[in-house]
């Protein structure tokens, strides 16, 4: 059974409908990418999955359970953890406090010490900055902290929105490699990216979202070689 299944979800903001029947499944242990141009509803889909907005129609299943109507804090308890676009750190709190807040779910608190060591190993920079206010760090460091805070939540699935946004290419590459490592250690990851080329390189499976619906999907290598995808997103 798939870990996450989104079935024919429609949703949006107020009167404005963004999603027009989006579906996808994320298999356990895989790194799944959700790509598409700006404004097709990638972030909206993620927000719907994580419970920041409710689906108008359709369902979200997590581990076989219908979680469509759960608020996001209860989803975090189940292990559905999101790293939001634009990082959204607790900017007035220290790096360490941000990580501590990341370990709020009961299942995460038991493993907090272990996970803290893990994120400090992946991002040694954060350890050096443990007592610094997170809002005063550079964009790249803040993005590291956002991912690290997600890992502290002991996720079953880590959903990352626009990892590369506003980051230098070298740093982006570093972060993508860190994700790949986490995936190899068994973490299920869903990655939402505008940087289609990079997302297809790093992921196992990919969904292309267009006009609020799933346009095409398949193993990332096949999607990468799809003529229409190449024409639309990769400029080939």
């Amino acid at each position: 059974m798939a870990l996450l299944e989104v079935r024919d979800v429609t949703s949006g903001y107020g009167e404005l409908q963004i999603l027009w029947g989006a579906s996808l499944t994320v298999e356990r242990g895989q790194l799944t990418a959700l790509v598409g141009s700006n404004g097709v509803g990638k972030t909206t889909l993620l927000r719907t999955v994580v419970g920041q907005i409710k689906p108008w129609q359709g369902q979200v299943f997590f581990d076989g359970q219908d979680v469509s109507k759960l608020p996001s804090y209860q989803k975090a308890e189940l292990g559905m953890v999101m790293v939001p676009e634009g990082r959204q750190l607790f900017t007035e709190m220290t790096v360490q406090e941000n990580l501590e807040m990341g370990a709020t779910p009961k299942r995460a608190r038991a493993k907090a010490a272990q996970n803290l060591e893990k994120v400090y190993t992946i991002f040694p920079r954060l350890k050096e900055r443990a007592t610094q206010k997170s809002g005063t760090m550079s964009g790249g460091e803040q993005q590291m902290l956002a991912v690290a805070r997600g890992i502290m939540g002991e996720p079953e699935i880590l959903m990352i929105d626009e990892l590369s946004l506003g980051l230098a290419p070298v740093l982006t590459l570093d972060l993508f490699q860190s994700l790949r490592r986490l995936r190899n250690e068994g973490l299920t990851i869903m990655l939402v990216e505008q940087n289609v080329r990079m997302a297809l390189k790093v992921s196992d499976y990919a969904y292309v979202l267009s006009e609020g619906k799933t346009a095409t999907h398949g193993p990332s290598r096949e999607v990468e070689n799809d003529a229409s995808v190449q024409a639309a997103y990769l400029g080939i």
Binding site: Q88, F90, T91, M93
Partner: protein, 286 residues
């Protein structure tokens, strides 16, 4: 003259920390949820009556009464949050101003019906304490020490405990708080509860020093606004310092001129700060 100044400074500081405590309740609520609680004054008045009733009806020591006032204040705050604040928390400021003002009117209406508007006082004394040239009433000194202790405890709570950090996280970024698994609604209700408990306790402390009616909260609510603006909106430590400044003004002005100038000077200061340094003397939260 010099002795007179020392006495005035001491009096001012002692009452100032109590004002600071009240303002802390207002500023905490604003800092966490951007809501200006216009029921702040009547809640202080309820704190006054709480201590009064504990003392006169139950025969409790007023300082023991304060514990009851704190617990009931917390509960009342959570009820007010659920009934009047939760639904308008993301609405424009006018909505929450109107809804907390309605709570204000309800408390005053019911309070007037039950207690009338005649003056009461808590006739409790701890004798006097003599320190060098100055003599202070024991209750005032104890009140000030208690207010400082509560401030210290609040600080420890916010910075050293998990629920306290939840409050700071929700204040800082409510969306992210939900994402990491913090139940924001419960945390908001708790914050509102703590804010009102602080106001009620401050009211209780004031009741031991001054006579009061159910309407007395209004004047202290205005003082709290001045203090909060002085100290920076959303900044609890700023509130304490702002309270001390206001207390000093109240203590010192009568030495040089008529006491009736006090409110005038306070509000001129209020307007000046708003014009010149709207973030307050000690910085507001972003």
């Amino acid at each position: 003259m010099f002795d007179q100044l020392i006495v005035s400074v001491t009096d001012g500081m002692l009452i100032g920390v109590v004002y600071g405590l009240a303002a802390m309740g207002l500023t905490l609520i604003f800092g966490v949820m951007n809501v200006i609680n216009l029921a702040h004054g009547p809640i202080m008045a309820l704190g006054m009556f709480g201590v009064y009733l504990c003392y006169t009806v139950l025969g409790l020591n007023p300082f023991v009464g304060l514990i009851i006032v704190a617990v009931l204040g917390m509960l009342l705050g959570m009820i007010i949050y659920a009934g009047a604040v939760h639904r308008v928390i993301d609405a424009p400021h006018l909505s929450s101003l109107l809804s907390t003002f309605s709570v204000n009117m309800m408390i005053i209406g019911i309070g007037t019906a039950v207690f009338s508007t005649s003056f009461r006082n808590v006739n409790y004394s701890l004798g006097t304490v003599v320190i060098g040239p100055i003599t202070v009433p024991g209750t005032r000194l104890s009140s000030a020490i208690l207010a400082l202790m509560v401030t210290g405890l609040l600080y420890l709570f916010l910075y050293r405990t998990r629920p306290g950090k939840y409050i700071r996280a929700v204040a800082n970024n409510r969306t992210s708080a939900g994402l990491v698994g913090i139940p924001s609604t419960r945390v908001l209700a708790m914050s509102f509860g703590i804010g009102t408990a602080l106001a009620a306790v401050a009211g209780g402390l004031i009741a031991m020093a001054l006579p009061f009616t159910i309407l007395s909260g209004g004047a202290f609510e205005l003082k709290s606004f001045v203090i909060v603006v002085l100290g920076g909106l959303g900044n609890p430590i700023g509130a304490l310092l702002g309270g001390i400044i206001l207390g000093l003004i109240e203590g010192l002005v009568p030495v040089f001129t008529k006491v009736t100038w006090v409110p005038f000077i306070e509000f001129v200061l209020f307007i000046l700060i708003l014009l010149v340094r709207p973030q307050g003397l000690f910085g507001a939260k972003q």
